[in-house]
């Protein structure tokens, strides 16, 4: 049987009727690694209890969620994690995990498999332990993360390596590819380094400039396409994509930017519901509202659902639009406008267009000189806007 038609029909149906097919659920922001590029505040500001999480899962199942990804922070730091998994199993979700795998043991792998966990994504930053550990700031983390991969595989769990690319590890990507191939697992690279959830921009110093990414963009071994995180069948094809987004990719999206708010959303450890982890528009909170009321009644979600790429004021007329992978969440976070352009996306689109043979490509945003002044930004601290200054808005990508 073929998978794509089923997935496309499912995506089309859920987009048309706004069903939350896929949910990315962060259970904690606490972490046993302190990655230099991480956008999270690792302090616990009042995580939902297991009972609250399980109640939320009941509501998600009732609303039609099938694909459920538990992530963090480091999920295994929650002592009630398996209690939550057991409940999720009873609700028949398709379960995926994102973890650094430091706390994976054979016994835990056995339990994960028994509880129906189908896929685990593990962050590996380099094939060089010193480079990886210098990013996680956790000595020995490379060896421990790596050791978990065969353990999970032996238990029949699909493992995928995710590798965000930044200044510290850009040149390691070929080594990560070779490592993944030796381990027999698929991999994905991500050029996205996002601002902190509180709007802090310090982590952006780790971003690789568009010009420095050229070797990656030019590498024929890397097909510049997005991953399909919900595809039932796994693929060993190398991809450039997002390791943070829980969005679904499909041809069924047509004129909408992505799945966020249409058939996917993000839930924080504190019960906040957002269209996506990269889109700081607070739609509601599960501690005081039912999911269905948030999903069906949020003005913020309605605002996101109204966006059509063909109507974007700048990007829809951009001559190099086909080379652009604009993220609406990052447009909001970095450019201050859900409908707007932002420098990083434009820069990368120009580089890709140039590589494709376009003569002197320039985005409409750059052509009009729009990105020269201050831009409103947004953050996850209750959806309040903050300002990003020109000095800290590097011309970089999604």
């Amino acid at each position: 049987m073929t998978e794509t038609p089923i997935m496309d029909r499912l995506v089309a149906r859920t987009v048309e009727r706004h069903r939350p097919l896929s949910v990315h659920f962060d259970l904690t922001y606490r972490c046993n690694e302190k990655c230099v590029h991480c956008y999270l505040d690792h302090e616990d500001h009042g995580e939902m209890t297991a009972a609250e999480v399980c109640g939320a899962l009941d509501q998600l199942a009732e609303a039609g969620t099938l694909f459920l990804t538990f992530s963090g922070g480091e999920i295994f730091l929650r002592t009630d994690f398996f209690q939550i998994l057991e409940h999720a199993r009873k609700l028949h979700f398709d379960l995926s995990l994102k973890t650094n795998a430091l706390l994976i043991t054979p016994a835990r792998a056995t339990r994960l498999r028994a509880l129906g966990v189908r896929r685990v994504q593990i962050s590996i930053y380099s094939d060089d332990p010193s480079v990886h550990d210098a990013i996680t700031l956790a000595p020995g983390s490379f060896q421990r993360s790596l050791a978990a991969i065969p353990v999970l595989k032996e238990h029949g769990i699909v493992v995928k390596i995710a590798c965000p690319l930044m200044r510290q590890n850009l040149l390691a990507y070929r080594g990560v590819m070779a490592l993944a191939e030796r381990l027999g697992v698929p991999y994905t690279f991500d050029m996205t380094i996002t601002p902190m959830m509180d709007g802090g921009l310090g982590v952006l110093e780790h971003r690789v400039s568009g010009a420095d990414l050229l070797p990656v963009l030019q590498d024929p071994a890397l097909r510049p396409s997005r991953p399909d995180p919900t595809a039932a069948c796994t693929s060993s094809e190398p991809v450039l994509g997002s390791v943070t987004s829980s969005g679904i990719e499909s041809t069924a999206y047509h004129d909408i930017p992505c799945s966020a708010g249409h058939n996917s959303c993000y839930v924080s450890p504190y019960g906040d519901v957002y269209p996506c982890i990269q889109m700081p528009l607070a739609a509601g909170n599960l501690r005081s509202q039912r999911f269905a009321d948030i999903w069906d009644g949020s003005g913020e979600l309605a605002r996101v659902r109204a966006v059509r790429e063909s109507e974007l004021p700048i990007c829809s007329v951009c001559p190099i639009r086909q080379y652009c992978e604009r993220c609406p969440g990052l447009a909001l976070m970095e450019g201050g406008d859900l409908l707007g352009a932002y420098g990083r996306a434009c820069d990368l689109a120009e580089h890709k267009a140039r590589l494709a043979g376009v003569d002197n490509p320039i985005s409409t945003w750059h052509e009009r000189g729009i990105g020269k002044g201050l831009a409103n930004g947004a953050c996850f601290n209750g959806g309040r806007a903050s300002l990003l200054t020109e000095a800290v808005l590097p011309p970089q990508e999604t």
């Binding site: 997935m7 499912l10 069903r19 039609g64 398709d94 379960l95 966990v117 189908r118 069948c233 796994t234």
Partner: protein, 102 residues
């Protein structure tokens, strides 16, 4: 593969599945394969609970859809057999043994 002695099937407990707008999507984690059931098949799937026999499900089907009892039974048995062949259904008693329930 034939139904269990009592003619009852149970959904394979390892599956992920969801009914979305009347149609059901099922994922078997062992093979990472996705299956899709149309509205009628979803009706049958919904009533597979370890207790309903094929005849009982067919009766419900005939009362819900414009179909003769004989055709309903034939469709139900055909679907149940196909689902069982794909290990999406297992004999009800085997689930009880696997889950340790009496």
């Amino acid at each position: 593969m034939t139904p269990c002695a009592e003619g009852c099937w149970q959904k394979n407990p390892s599956l992920a599945w969801r009914e979305v707008e009347g149609e059901t999507v099922i994922i078997s984690p062992d093979e990472s394969v996705m299956h899709e059931l149309n509205g009628t098949a979803s009706f049958i799937w919904r009533h597979v609970d370890g207790h309903n026999s094929a005849a009982q499900i067919a009766e419900l089907l005939a009362s819900e859809y414009d179909v003769t009892p004989m055709a309903a039974l034939e469709d139900t048995e055909t679907l149940l057999t196909e689902l069982a062949e794909r290990r999406l259904l297992v004999p009800a008693e085997s689930v009880e043994k696997e889950s340790g329930t009496p």
